[in-house]
């Protein structure tokens, strides 16, 4: 039997699903508002319900995003020389021929993605709450409307890339979000520095 290593804990996986589902619901309903898309409105049972869903799923989303800092924030702030080299070969994403420097648990692309989502997520949530709850402050609402939509542009570009890279582009990765583990042999190849630090290599 292949020996497995655990990359994600149970609460991390659960939280990731809450974050992913809420985020996608928000993107879909937000897109429906942005373009007044009747079909998306009907999906939610009308625009009135969609607004209620969008607002409250937003609450779930931000709580889940803040909780994710517990698992991902510290890693996302640490970069070393290999990480810098990683950018020179574009993480090996553009060609399988290049030699990618040895990586830790997460590569710098993933770490920066996390920070982008964290930043844009906090911005979209704060601005969303302002649009939802504040009245009679035109400057604040107009700024919030702009911030909400700029962050939306970040999400609508970053999230599909993340989904592609963690499914089709890297077979076996999706499994980590299901049971949290991957075979030791694979882990040694993909995350040698992490495996060394864990004493498995």
């Amino acid at each position: 039997m292949t020996e497995m290593v655990r990359k994600s804990s149970g609460d991390e996986i659960l939280n990731h699903w809450v974050l992913a589902v809420s985020c996608i619901l928000l993107i879909i309903s937000g897109y429906g508002f942005l373009f007044q898309t009747e079909a998306i409105g009907s999906l939610f049972g009308g625009f009135n319900t969609m607004k209620t869903v969008h607002n409250w799923v937003g609450v779930v989303f931000i709580l889940s995003l803040l909780f994710s800092m517990r698992h991902s924030f510290k890693d996302a702030l640490e970069y070393d020389e290999d990480d810098r080299q990683w950018f020179k070969v574009a993480g090996g994403y553009l060609s399988h021929k290049v030699k990618v420097p040895p990586m830790g648990k997460y590569n710098p692309g993933q770490k920066l993605y996390y920070l982008a989502i964290l930043g844009a997520g906090i911005a979209i949530a704060l601005s969303g709450f302002a649009i939802w709850l504040v009245q009679g402050n035109q400057t604040l609402i107009l700024i919030s409307h702009l911030v909400h939509n700029v962050s939306f542009c970040i999400f609508i570009i970053a999230v599909p890339v993340h989904i592609y890279l963690s499914t089709l582009a890297n077979p076996g990765t999706f499994q980590i979000m299901v049971n949290g583990t991957l075979p030791l042999e694979v882990a040694k190849k993909r995350y040698p520095k992490w495996m060394k630090a864990a004493g498995k290599m």
């Binding site: 897109y31 429906g32 508002f33 942005l34 373009f35 007044q36 898309t37 009747e38 409105g41 625009f47 009135n48 969609m50 607004k51 090996g92 994403y93 553009l94 060609s95 399988h96 021929k97 030699k99 990618v100 649009i131 939802w132 009245q135 035109q138 609402i141 107009l142 700024i143 409307h145 702009l146 939509n149 700029v150 939306f152 542009c153 609508i156 570009i157 599909p160 890339v161 592609y164 089709l168 582009a169 890297n170 077979p171 694979v186 190849k189 993909r190």
Partner: protein, 256 residues
Amino acid sequence: MANDNTKNRKAILVTPEVCIGCRACQVACKSWNQLPGIKTKNNGTYQNPPDLASAAFNIIRYSEVPSEKNPVRWLFVSRRCMHCDDAGCMKICPAPGALYRTKEGAVAFDRDKCIGCKLCVNACPFDVPRYDADGKVTKCHLCFDRIGAGMQPACVKTCPTGALRFGDRAELVSTAKKDGFGTIYGEEDLGGLGTVYAFKEEPKLYGMTDDPAIPSSVVFWHTVLKPFAVAGLGGVVAAAAIHYLAVGPHKEEEEV
């Protein structure tokens, strides 16, 4: 940004000079739209209610300005939705059909379709939309129900002096010019307003907004961010597909 209705576009022409401040228009609007009275306080002016409200689609703004002949000059001007051709409220609204254009060129609203997000008031250059107790949009709708049936708007019908006139927009504007009104407020602003004002003096004297415009952030959002969001989504999906075909999924064996 002329809309398709520009040719037969209807409008209200306000001529503040002949307004006597009787506020029959306020009463007629309330009566036609079955709006309740509003309790207000005396705040030192006859202007009442003090501002547009969910139960006040139009008000007469009273301004007192210095005058040489008299102790003070009293100016009256009717304030209501301008039925902008390029309407900020419609642009920002996220709910389809909540604000819509009638064939006469009016900007009307559908209470049931409004989701009460209150974005429209912030994008209106004239601070017009208001919200009722349920948080739904309300404002002057140019009596779309009356004009659609060939009648005049209630406020116009009741006006005893001709300070409010309703009709073909182009005709109203040209008549006002012939009558010697040098400034037609709203003739060109925002693609042309559906409430136009005939002035002989500076509109500012009457408290009219100089160069009304949709907030620049809303224009930027509409013309840049919205197309960018679509292009961005399309771009990354296409890039992923190309990557999958050209580079293909990651294979463990290739790693050194």
